[in-house]
Symmetry: C2
Subunit: 130 residues, 2 copies
């Protein structure tokens, strides 16, 4: 879907374009691992790669590295390399990352309050559409 094209039929997408800030934010925190990394760092403060890997058990090296790179690029966390032997790398939320953490926590609150309703709705739906 080439919505980045300025002209042509795609121009009608505007308000719902992928370049819309809120959509791009959802692309970030909607990611399976990104939000977990942010929450982990929010709880644990400064953490090493291996600590994150253990905390977020189930994530592959590839995904963890990829996620960390993305979040670093977005300025949500910092990556500090200590050139010892063996190498030591620490990750930590930036102030920007911490403000996002707060936003995610508000999301979490909605979830805790309303997910039971969602579950009930699902159960009812599944019962009627057996």
């Amino acid at each position: 879907m080439d919505v980045t094209t300025a002209d042509g039929p795609a121009a009608r997408f505007d308000a719902f374009a992928a370049s819309c800030p809120s959509r791009r934010l959802l692309d970030t925190i909607g990611d399976k691992w990104a939000s977990l990394v942010i929450v982990a760092l929010g709880l644990g403060g400064r953490m090493r790669y291996s600590e994150l890997s253990a905390r977020i058990a189930g994530v592959s090296q590839k995904m963890l590295t990829q996620t960390l790179r993305g979040l670093e690029r977005d300025g949500l966390l910092t990556r500090a390399v200590t050139p010892s032997v063996p190498v030591r790398v620490d990750y930590e939320l930036t102030p920007l990352g911490q403000s996002l953490l707060e936003t995610i926590c508000r999301l979490k609150e909605w979830a805790e309050v309303h997910m039971p309703e969602v579950d009930a709705a699902r159960a009812a739906y599944d019962r009627n559409h057996a």
Copy 2:
């Protein structure tokens, strides 16, 4: 990733399990189209399938239908079929769906405030990692 299994190695995932309410919420609103549907219905009130399809230009039948079914199942919107010829189907947010809309709007506010910082961080990162 079989995190739903109660026992075995997967049991260590607990706090970060996919069954956690906040994670399941992210699975919903993190979806490419679900949030757009919610916002569209929030702005437009009751809408027909074809209206949604036009408003969220770029979505395929398959994805729109699939998204609507999912949101209906979650109790976030209602689906009303008028058995005329041709058929008419209207979708509308439930109160639960509207409360989620508010949550999404708060996300949107974070995005509007902070995405410029994210963009700046990206530009800086890309400059240093050419």
